[in-house]
């Protein structure tokens, strides 16, 4: 490229050689950065060392270490806690898609404006308000013990099914609100354009609004799912021996809390990749939006 440039033609695209001034500036910046990093690093380590030494020096530390961080207890309980953990995973995998469907249905119902739909819309509002208001654990109790007590023909009795049902009802309400926020965030001009082409409201929703709305709310949805992963432990109150309950059994047997730590580690192992994935998705969506705004 350089060869073809004639005199007075376009200036070079890239700076061919940096000036003395710029080189000096860059060197200074590098030194400054290195200095800041060193200070930050050293002070962080010092603070951490202070905290840890304070912890270890406290009179109760040996007791706490034995009670919460016992290696032997951890290794003893981990296999069974892990076995129980598969229950949590399966509850989560079953509940999640159902929650998405329920949430979307409620959100779409709320956005329909025809007067004929008023009863359904009102029901959707009541559902969202009630099930966002009831603590999830209460719901698990009420459904897990209440439904079988009604003794209805054909009603499910399995605590797993009832637990999943309770989680679906609770999280469905939250996810419905997330979807609704997404739908309402789509500029009305999109709806106007869709309708001006002759698309019915339903068609506009299905082909234009929802695809955009859903893409937009993926980060908060992933957030709700991380929360769901943890709330699967609530099903333990119905007798299901999942990770938390296994930890509790071991804990009660040995009067030691380390099994709970084992269960916590497993939950973290599940949610951390989810969190990074969420960040990645959010960054991607943000990048596309920024590019569009150019």
């Amino acid at each position: 490229m350089a060869g073809r440039l004639g005199r007075g033609a376009r200036p070079p695209v890239k700076n061919p050689a940096k000036s003395e001034r710029q080189l000096a500036r860059e060197a200074q910046r590098r030194r400054k950065t290195a200095r800041s990093r060193a200070i930050a690093g050293i002070s962080s380590i010092a603070a951490l060392a202070l905290v840890i030494s304070g912890l270890i020096a406290s009179p109760g530390w040996p007791r706490v270490r034995e009670t919460f961080f016992s290696w032997s207890e951890l290794t003893a309980s981990l296999p069974q806690v892990l076995a129980g953990f598969w229950s949590n995973v399966s509850i989560f995998l079953i509940a999640e898609p159902i929650i998405l469907v329920v949430g979307l249905a409620i959100a779409v119902t709320r956005s329909v404006e025809t007067p004929a739909f008023f009863p359904l819309r009102a029901l959707a509002v009541v559902y969202t308000d009630v099930f966002r208001g009831i603590p999830t654990i209460l719901l698990v109790f009420l459904i897990g013990f209440g439904v079988p007590a009604l003794d209805l023909q054909g009603a499910p009795r399995s605590p797993m099914i009832l637990g999943v049902a309770a989680l679906v009802l609770s999280y469905g309400a939250y996810v419905a609100e997330v979807f609704r926020a997404g739908i309402e965030s789509i500029h009305p001009s999109q709806l106007a354009a869709a309708r001006s082409l002759g698309l019915s409201r339903a068609q506009a929703m299905r082909h234009v609004i929802l695809p955009q709305a859903v893409r937009r709310v993926i980060p908060p949805l992933l957030n709700d799912f991380a929360s769901l992963q943890k709330d699967t432990a609530l099903v333990s109150v119905l007798g299901v021996v999942e990770a938390l309950r296994q930890a509790q059994i071991h804990s009660a047997g040995a009067f030691n809390y380390t099994p709970y730590l084992a269960a916590a580690l497993l939950f973290v192992l599940l949610t951390v990749p989810m969190a990074r994935f969420t960040d990645w998705v959010a960054a991607g969506a943000e990048g596309r939006r920024a590019a569009r705004e150019r």
Partner: protein
């Protein structure tokens, strides 16, 4: 018989009358340009004709049938009217081709393969053939607006409503859009344009309507309006706007 008739149209928005008793006839193949200050009601009038907003009084007739009557299937009506907006409003999650084929396939029940062929023809005709597989955010403003016009055309409307379609564009991109509009006129499309571009309006319009504060103050041929407007307000408005 006029293709489109607007009779005593009133529209209030938040207590303010945005349109006051508008009367307008549009004959087949006629190009009507609406001019007037921002807020004069041009966009609202077009939206009301396309049944995107509900009117407060009066009526709109298409092909002699009242489309503002209760019980009219609005989706059916909108199949016959094409509208293009100032901010293009292309669907960002679809390619240009998908944008254009969506309505023909879903609304007019055209077979997908057929719709694609027709879409490509239109794109080719308006110089966008190579952009068919692109997403809207990879197109320039002018290209997006042209695509939006093609999208509306793909539905073979009887009348096209263009709402300030060049106002959001950089000056150098305005021309390419105006080109398309001229071509549409040549093909005999009935159109109502709301525009700020006075020279373009003068060039293309069969009839010019001046709106002021929701009232259709003056109406006539381009020569009449631009050279010798009768209403003082019209003169004020034209004097204030630079004839580009």
């Amino acid at each position: 018989m006029p293709l489109l008739r607007v009779e005593s149209l009133w529209k209030t928005y938040r207590g303010r009358s945005v349109l006051r008793g508008i009367d307008l006839d549009v004959d087949p193949h006629e190009v009507v340009c609406l001019i007037g200050a921002s807020g004069s009601g041009k966009s609202t009038l077009l939206r009301c004709i396309d049944l995107l907003d509900q009117i407060d009084d009066g009526a709109v007739f298409l092909d002699g049938v009242e489309i503002t009557a209760v019980g009219v299937d609005e989706d059916e009506v909108r199949k016959k009217i094409g509208m293009v907006f100032q901010s293009y409003n292309l669907f960002p999650h679809m390619t240009v081709l998908e944008n254009i084929t969506l309505a023909p396939v879903k609304v007019h029940k055209t077979r997908k393969s057929e719709a694609i062929v027709q879409a490509r023809e239109l794109l080719d005709r308006f110089g966008l053939a190579d952009k068919a597989g692109e997403y809207p955010d990879h197109l320039s403003g002018g290209q997006q607006q042209r695509a939006a016009i093609v999208r509306a055309l793909a539905c073979r409307p009887e009348v096209m409503l263009l709402d300030e379609v060049t106002s959001a564009l950089d000056p150098e991109l305005v021309a390419e859009v105006q080109e398309i509009v001229r071509e549409l006129k040549q093909q005999g499309m009935t159109m109502i344009l709301a525009t700020h571009e006075m020279s373009f309006a003068r060039d293309i319009a069969d009839t010019v309507c001046f709106l002021h504060d929701g009232v259709l103050l003056e109406r006539g041929s381009p020569e009449q309006i631009f050279t010798s407007p009768t209403e003082p307000r019209t003169r004020e408005f034209l004097a204030g706007s630079v004839l580009r």
